[in-house]
Amino acid sequence: MAEPETQAPAPAPWPVFDLNQAVLGFADEVAREPGGAHIRRCYACGACSARCPVADHLAGFDPRRLIRLILLGQRDPVLQSPLPWRCSTCYTCQETCPQGVGFTEVLFAVKNIAARAGFFPPALGLQPDILRAHGRLLEITDFENKNRADLGLPAITERPAHYQAMLARFSLKTGEEA
């Protein structure tokens, strides 16, 4: 049997912190984005970090610290960091926060800004095209419908027209790995 791999994943690189590079409007930029409105409410208690399951397993992932970096204007380091994309969206931080910061949603705001700037995981960048083509993330072909019929389930026909129309104007910059 192969040597069991018991280690946690490698630590994610920390965004390099440089106050001389601070973009003072970054927190406001996040606050204007859907979900980001309450970022300034954070009083750094650390309840989010204490309960975050990703923080338990991924060294370097620390919600409280990410919030500080945003409030201190570390725009490029945060937007180019892989960390926001490692959130499992479990909502534990959001439900725990005594200040109603809504950190899960704050991270969606950050990811939305990062995506516009061209930083997002490549696999995610393919999803809009898949939706435009199929109206769903997993294709339905005759093969799927045959399996469905075998279990007495009704056939599904892909209807992507609305998705094509809804996402017609949506485009992403060429992806850079995040």
Partner: protein, 291 residues
């Protein structure tokens, strides 16, 4: 009002046992489920890239339900949360609702609110109720013990779910299990996240997140883990072999979608409930509950 069955992207392709058991148990319990042919992706996959696009997509599906005069029941927890959140946001932000409806007008739709969105497990709990479930049981699962796994998006964001169950101390799934005559195990780590949300971006992280619970389950003396979400299922069942190998453990934890257990208790056949698609089974249990 009929309930439009919202399957989403994953369940109707990867979890036919879940879908079949939802449909068969609903039928047995007299729930009026209908299919809307136009339902597609719920929008959640778009949320990280652009939350407003995700919202428009979610609202589009709610608009379809409204036009058909249906409420919505979803089998996938991510779909249920995405749709419930959209409804909640639009109800509380008129300016946003106006913007979203301008987008919907381009495809001839309109959403004015009021569609109820329920995860299928919540629907069973609230609309059928424990008493009626208990009365409908013909084959009690007495003597069996299961660990419930609620997952995250079934309960949270709790605001969008009308706080129907506690995110820290959830009870509904345990009570649904107990209504079938089985025992529901209480255990540390009950509300731990399965890791499914990061499987696509960092497999190793997702696996270490799921591993903790799987390992714990081997010490709980349970007949299996009960899930209600395709992503929890992919982590605990689909990834189980890989995780066992990776961490050098002998894990053999049977997985059940709750409606499959319910179906057994209601006397529905294992074939109809799609059990042949369950990858890790307790053969003795399945034999004992046959016929």
């Amino acid at each position: 009002m009929p309930w439009a069955l919202y399957l989403g992207c994953t369940v109707p392709v990867r979890n036919l046992n879940y879908e079949a058991s939802v449909r068969r148990t609903a039928e047995k319990l007299g729930l009026d489920l209908v299919d809307l042919a136009d339902f597609g992706c719920c929008g959640f996959p778009m949320k990280s890239l652009n939350a407003e696009e995700a919202l428009v997509i979610a609202a589009r599906n709610l608009a379809l339900a409204q036009a058909a005069g249906c409420d919505v029941t979803a089998a996938c927890s991510a779909c249920a949360a995405s749709l419930a959140e959209a409804d909640h946001q639009l109800a509380h932000d008129p300016a946003l609702a106006k913007r979203v409806n301008e987008r919907l007008a381009e495809i001839g739709l309109k959403y004015t609110g009021g569609v109820r969105i329920r995860h299928f497990a919540r629907l069973l709990y609230e609309e059928v109720g424990l008493e009626r479930l208990r009365a409908a049981v013909v084959r009690p699962l007495t003597g069996y013990r299961f660990a419930p796994h609620y997952g995250c998006h079934y309960l949270k964001p709790s605001e969008a779910m009308d706080h129907f169950d506690s995110p820290d101390n959830p009870r509904t799934l345990a009570e649904l299990i107990e209504a079938l005559g089985a025992e529901a195990a209480a255990y540390p780590g009950l509300t731990d996240c399965c890791g499914g949300g990061v499987l696509g971006v960092e497999e190793g992280l997702a696996q270490v997140m799921a591993y903790g619970k799987l390992k714990r389950l081997t010490t709980l003396n349970v007949n299996g883990l009960v899930v209600i979400c395709p992503f929890c299922n992919v982590m605990f069942e689909g990834q189980q072999k890989t995780i066992a190998k990776k961490f050098g453990e002998d894990l053999k934890v049977p997985l059940f979608f709750y409606p499959q257990l319910l179906g057994l208790a209601l006397g529905i056949g294992q074939k109809e409930l799609g059990f042949k698609l369950n990858r890790i089974k307790d053969k003795d249990m399945m034999k004992a509950l046959e016929g």
